[in-house]
């Protein structure tokens, strides 16, 4: 399995609004392997959700993939026709959304919606589809599946609905599950249940998961690899261990400083100053430079390139380049 399952290459996605072009994603590239849990973390407007939606090609009508390609098992799906994409969604790749309250149709029963999804993508019909639906509900830990199938979404709690959404996403055993802030709308105890469920299912079914979230805590407990995004670009990527214990991008460092530390709870937080970037006029250089404490002249004018810190870790920050130069210089002096 040397070929990645999904390979995103230099993705650019823009939204064309009244006020102008909003470049939500600016040259994002990453690979996703079989059975990997990849976390994409960033604040609102960093382009993390748009990246996920671009893979599914379910952007809002004003949004468009402007440049770049997405390879699924070696095929460029950005060139696929809508009909092929419909097969791709559901069979190869499924998505669960943030708000379980609005992603289920309130006028149909759970069973209705679930069997619909099954009939659409498999050749199961009637009783068979119903049996599969019950099986799926059981898989996501809903007790009394037969009774639940007859219920309407409003009869279920938020956590239950998110489980139903997951069941629906798993209907055709996709290779990839995209979870877009799956637990943000849920309470802490319910969040723990859902995260545990996703982890369990990922192990059992061996699918790859892209977890999009703003919550560093969720990322820390779930993900193998992490991508940190800011202003539509990838700041830093690496294993969870590298990102949390050896951050090499000023934004990641700032982010980790600005959450209360578990071991030193009462210490003062060090926030990232300034306000989130205005996506309508992106700066010429690094998108984070306006808020960066250690910004340099070069950060204002030139986009940083991604350089490898080690084999599991890459970051796009000029400070790493400078430090590399200092080391190089130091070595040369000796």
């Amino acid at each position: 399995m040397n070929k990645p399952l999904i390979s995103v290459q230099n993705l650019h996605t823009s939204f064309f609004t009244d006020s102008g072009e909003v470049c939500a994603v600016n040259g994002v590239s990453f690979d996703l392997d079989h059975g990997e849990i990849l976390g994409i973390v960033g604040e609102s407007g960093s382009g993390k959700s748009v990246t996920a939606y671009s893979i599914m090609q379910i952007l809002a009508s004003t949004g468009k993939i402007v440049d770049g390609s997405i390879y699924y098992k070696g095929e460029d799906i950005t060139k696929w026709k809508e009909k092929q994409m419909r097969d791709f969604r559901g069979k190869c790749c499924s998505i669960i959304f943030q708000d379980p309250m609005t992603s289920l149709n309130p006028v149909f029963t759970i069973g209705n919606q679930l069997t619909e999804a099954i009939k659409l993508h498999t050749d199961k019909k009637g009783k068979e589809a119903k049996a599969r639906a019950a099986e799926l509900l059981e898989l996501v830990g809903i007790n009394e599946p037969e009774r639940r199938l007859k219920q309407y979404p409003y009869e279920l709690s938020g956590g239950m609905r998110q489980r139903v959404m997951i069941a629906m996403a798993l209907a055709c055993e996709p290779d990839i599950l995209i979870a877009d802030e799956p637990t943000t709308a849920l309470d802490v105890t319910i969040q723990a249940q859902i995260l545990e469920l996703i982890q369990k299912l990922q192990k059992e079914l061996g699918m790859a998961v892209i977890l999009v979230t703003h919550d560093l805590g969720v990322i820390a407990s779930m993900c193998d690899n992490i991508i940190v995004m800011y202003g539509g670009r990838i700041c830093e990527r690496g294993t969870a261990h590298e990102i949390f214990y050896n951050p090499k991008h000023e934004y990641t460092k700032g982010l980790l400083r600005s959450i209360p530390n578990v071991t030193r709870m009462k210490e003062k937080l060090i926030p990232i100053l300034g306000t989130p970037i205005n996506m309508l006029n992106l700066p010429k250089g690094c998108s984070f430079c306006a808020r960066c404490d250690n910004a340099m002249k070069i950060c204002l004018t030139e986009k940083p390139e991604e350089i490898s810190i080690n084999e599991n870790h890459k970051a796009s920050c000029w400070i790493n380049v400078r430090d590399a130069m200092i080391n190089e210089g130091g070595n040369a002096d000796e």
Binding site: T189, G217, A220, I259, P271, T275
Partner: protein, 319 residues
């Protein structure tokens, strides 16, 4: 605690909900909550959605008329009649920085509204000076005074909301999930600002949130609510290190910790099932339906909040 600023005694807030054609069932949003807050202190109030924590904050400010119980502020009971003057001393910061600011008003008018209502200035110039001073307090640029709220980012909007609350120079502010709608990097800015304002002005906070990490960071003491009742109240470090109530224990274990090693090594107590509907409250202890230690006794009577030493209060028979 020698100087108590706010005392809440057995506060009850029921909302009648129509359940049948002629039938109304009381929804017990808050059911007998008591606590005190000292001068310049921060009390954290945590709980899951629907546990009544927001209602507690609003009932204190009499945005709802409480069903029973009393609120004593600075030695004086808050009643229907004196609430308007009380609102000069007690203020509120709201959760949603988008809907809590009137979209048709400029920042200047939003912050100036409490000044207008309580007539806290003698002329236009004084009003403007006060507004600019407030904006300066919360780190807003004075050029922003004539802009509209929708032009600002979430963090800046929350600053405007805080400036509005500070305008009357209150001694106590109810902070109703003030950071949960903000991005992580902005949360820290706002939290720091709350702390700085407390140091400078000596205001006390009731800090309502569902994020235990944030509450733990900012509060001196924490109260945990479940279905309208406080189940545990203790010093924040004590609560974190030595939770007594089974609900607090599971809540703490479920908090996602932004540290991969700790997050992966610790034992999670995952609660089974969902929070029961407040319309169909279980008998006895409200938590017993999800509690692993529940006994016969729990179904019969409701445990009260008792001191377990050093001001650590818990409401559980078994733990």
């Amino acid at each position: 605690m020698s100087d108590i600023l706010l005392e809440v005694n057995d506060l009850k807030q029921y909302f009648p909900i129509r359940t049948g054609f002629f039938q109304k069932t009381p929804l017990k949003a808050v059911d007998g909550v008591s606590f005190t807050i000292g001068k310049g202190e921060t009390l954290g109030l945590v709980g899951e959605s629907g546990c009544g924590k927001t209602t507690v904050g609003r009932s204190i400010l009499r945005l709802y008329e409480p069903t029973a119980g009393q609120v004593i502020f600075d030695g004086e009971e808050v009643t229907k009649n004196n609430i308007n003057s009380m609102r000069k001393k007690m203020q509120m910061v709201f959760q949603d920085p988008y809907s809590s600011l009137d979209p048709r008003m400029t920042v200047e008018d939003i912050i100036g509204e409490p000044l207008d209502v309580h007539k806290l200035y003698s002329n236009k110039k004084e009003r403007r000076e006060k507004i600019l001073e407030l904006m300066n307090y919360v780190g807003l640029n004075s050029e922003h005074a004539t802009r509209y709220a929708h032009e600002f980012s979430g963090g800046q909007r929350q600053r405007i909301g805080i400036a509005r609350a500070l305008a009357v120079d209150p001694q106590f502010i109810v902070c109703d999930e003030p950071v949960s709608a903000l991005d992580v990097s902005i949360q820290a800015q706002v939290i720091n600002m709350f702390e700085e304002l407390q140091e400078k002005l000596g205001v006390a906070y009731l800090f309502i949130a569902h994020d235990l990490l944030v509450v733990h960071h900012i509060s001196k003491r924490i109260a945990v609510m479940y279905l309208g009742k406080i189940v545990e109240l203790a010093d924040s470090d004590e609560l974190n290190n030595n939770p007594l109530h089974p609900y607090t224990q599971s809540l703490l274990s479920a908090v996602p910790i932004p540290d991969p090693d700790i997050a992966r090594s610790r034992q999670r107590i995952v609660l089974e099932g969902d929070v029961p509907s407040p319309l169909k409250m279980p008998t006895g202890c409200p938590f017993r339906t999800r509690c692993q230690y529940a006994t016969e006794q729990c179904a019969q009577e409701c445990p009260t909040l008792t001191d377990r030493g050093g001001g650590h209060m818990s409401a559980c028979f078994n733990k």
